[in-house]
């Protein structure tokens, strides 16, 4: 024989569903409000996830760029090459002659005219270096050392922009968290109010149930399920909104990244993130219900 609480939980869940269905307009409006509120942080998470992916794709290994002085000749470049070959901190390097750079730039759209107008090649000889140790501090040390090599004009850490991007992404993540927290409060407020209306319309039923020996748990349970279902439905709406938005942007984004020749496609929200959205929606609905019950169900 199944235990009592299973029947009662099932009955309470069914009752909650019936209450949701009985007032379809109210339910729909609450669910939409919750869905839109949750779609913002969920969408933020989607953007963030894609930005991180993009950052990883575009910066596979950190590099150091060494630029020679403009008037340095090929011999000077050769000296640097010899220096780099023996350097333990250099894993690999590539020499980029100034002529190649000029040719590549000329091939770029719209730049040919500009470059032809220049009196002489504005690009220096350069080296692209892959360091043995990619940690930022080690790279910084290597770069500092290379700055002192004769005839070297400038040394740039390609990890700089990765670091800047990471800092930006951290801000983005904080933003998503903040947005999530704020809108969670909104979600709790929505369920709080919806449950308040539910309690008011169910006054007779609550009163009679209590007179017939219903415990507080029995009275509360359907409302708690109500809050959970409302939150879950809102969470599903939020995921649909995010998926729909992603689908809407897929085409224009793929055109954009093709122009930048980046290997990237817009990824949907991960399974984990979707689960987090649904679980927190249900949890917040439950909390909203709990608060509302405490406020509106204290009297006998």
């Amino acid at each position: 024989m199944t235990p009592v609480w299973i029947h009662q939980s099932r009955d309470a869940a069914l009752l909650a569903l019936r209450r949701l269905v009985v007032a379809p307009v109210n339910t729909l409006l609450s669910v939409l409000a919750i869905g839109v509120a949750l779609a913002l942080p969920a969408g933020g998470q989607l953007l963030l996830g894609n930005a991180i992916q993009l950052a990883r794709n575009s910066a596979p290994t950190p590099q150091i760029s060494v630029f020679m002085q403009l008037d340095a000749d090929k011999r000077a470049a050769h000296d640097v090459e010899v220096h780099l070959k023996d350097h333990p901190g250099v894993k690999a390097f590539r020499f980029i002659p100034r002529e190649d750079t000029l040719a590549r730039m000329r091939a770029s759209e719209g730049l040919a005219d500009v470059i032809d107008a220049l009196p002489k090649n504005p690009f220096p000889d350069a080296f692209a270096i892959v360091p043995t140790d990619p940690r930022p501090s080690e790279m910084e040390q290597l770069a500092e050392e290379l700055r002192h090599v004769p005839r070297v004009d400038q040394v740039e850490l390609d990890s700089d922009w990765v670091r800047r991007l990471n800092a930006l992404l951290r801000i983005g993540r904080s933003g998503v968290v903040l947005l999530g927290l704020l809108l969670s409060v909104g979600l709790v407020a929505i369920t709080f109010n919806t449950i308040r209306l539910q309690i008011m319309t169910s006054r007779a039923e609550i009163e009679v149930s209590r007179l017939l020996g219903a415990t507080d748990t029995f009275v509360r349970r359907p409302f708690e399920y109500f809050g959970i279902f409302l939150g879950l439905a809102g969470g599903i709406v939020a995921l649909l909104i995010v998926a729909g938005t992603g689908w809407w942007f897929r085409q224009p984004v793929s055109e954009l990244v093709r122009l930048y020749s980046i290997d990237f496609s817009l990824r949907p929200l991960s399974l984990f993130d979707s689960a987090v959205v649904l679980l927190s929606a249900a949890g917040l609905g439950w909390i909203g219900a709990g608060l509302s019950l405490r406020q509106h169900l204290t009297d006998e």
Partner: protein, 214 residues
């Protein structure tokens, strides 16, 4: 079964609904509680069902002091009582069957057994063929019988009724009175507040006057 021991109920600002009330109802008795309107009949029933608490004195049901019961213990007391309320308190959003089902759902009866019991209770009050009807479609007498079915479906050994025959014509009232008599005949203790104690000739009579027993 029921014992009042110098029980008083005072409502603010200082109206004594019941004063120094002491009496006993033994198991298996049928007792009517008569008295003018406002004599305290409803208050007395409410004290037994722990809907109100006595201001002083004790109210014992099954030897348990109802007045000092913890809030969380009250539901379990009520499950062992059948109460027919003055205003019936039927739920108008569900049919007769579901109204009678409610107490069993609350006490967590297995559904199959519960359905059987609901039908037995409806049959007992002559409403089996009306089980699908909404309360609004029932006549006054039928609504009253429905309220009785809901009160007895949990098979309580104590049945309280507050003016169960008010607003009924004489014939219907006798019908309802006979149902209470039937329950008493199978051993249920019955306490009925009524203006018309003549409907229950076999009952022991208590008469309240301004909150005191005569």
């Amino acid at each position: 079964m029921i014992r009042f021991d110098h029980a008083c109920k005072r409502y603010p600002p200082g109206f004594d609904a019941l004063s120094d009330l002491s009496f006993e109802v033994a198991a298996g008795e049928l007792v009517t509680l008569a008295g003018h309107s406002g004599a305290g009949k409803s208050t007395l029933l409410k004290l037994i069902a722990a809907i109100e608490r006595p201001t002083s004195g004790a109210v014992l049901v099954h030897g348990q002091n109802v007045g000092s019961l913890k809030r969380t213990a009250i539901p379990y007391l009520r499950r062992n009582l059948g109460v027919v309320f003055q205003d019936q308190k039927l739920l108008f959003d569900r049919n007769a069957f579901d109204n009678v089902m409610l107490p069993l759902t609350i006490s967590g009866f297995p559904p199959t057994e519960a359905r059987r019991r609901v039908q037995a209770a409806l049959d007992k009050v002559g409403l089996l063929d009306r089980q699908k009807a909404m309360p609004i479609m029932l006549s006054g007498g039928e609504q009253q019988r429905l309220a009785i079915a809901r009160a007895v479906v949990g098979r309580p050994n104590l049945l309280l009724a507050d003016e169960p025959t008010a607003h009924l014509d004489h014939e219907t009232a006798s019908d309802v009175a006979r149902i209470f008599g039937d329950f008493n005949a199978v051993g249920v203790t019955v306490l009925i507040a009524t203006y018309d104690a003549g409907l229950f000739p076999q009952a022991r009579r208590l008469v309240l006057d301004h909150g005191r027993l005569q």
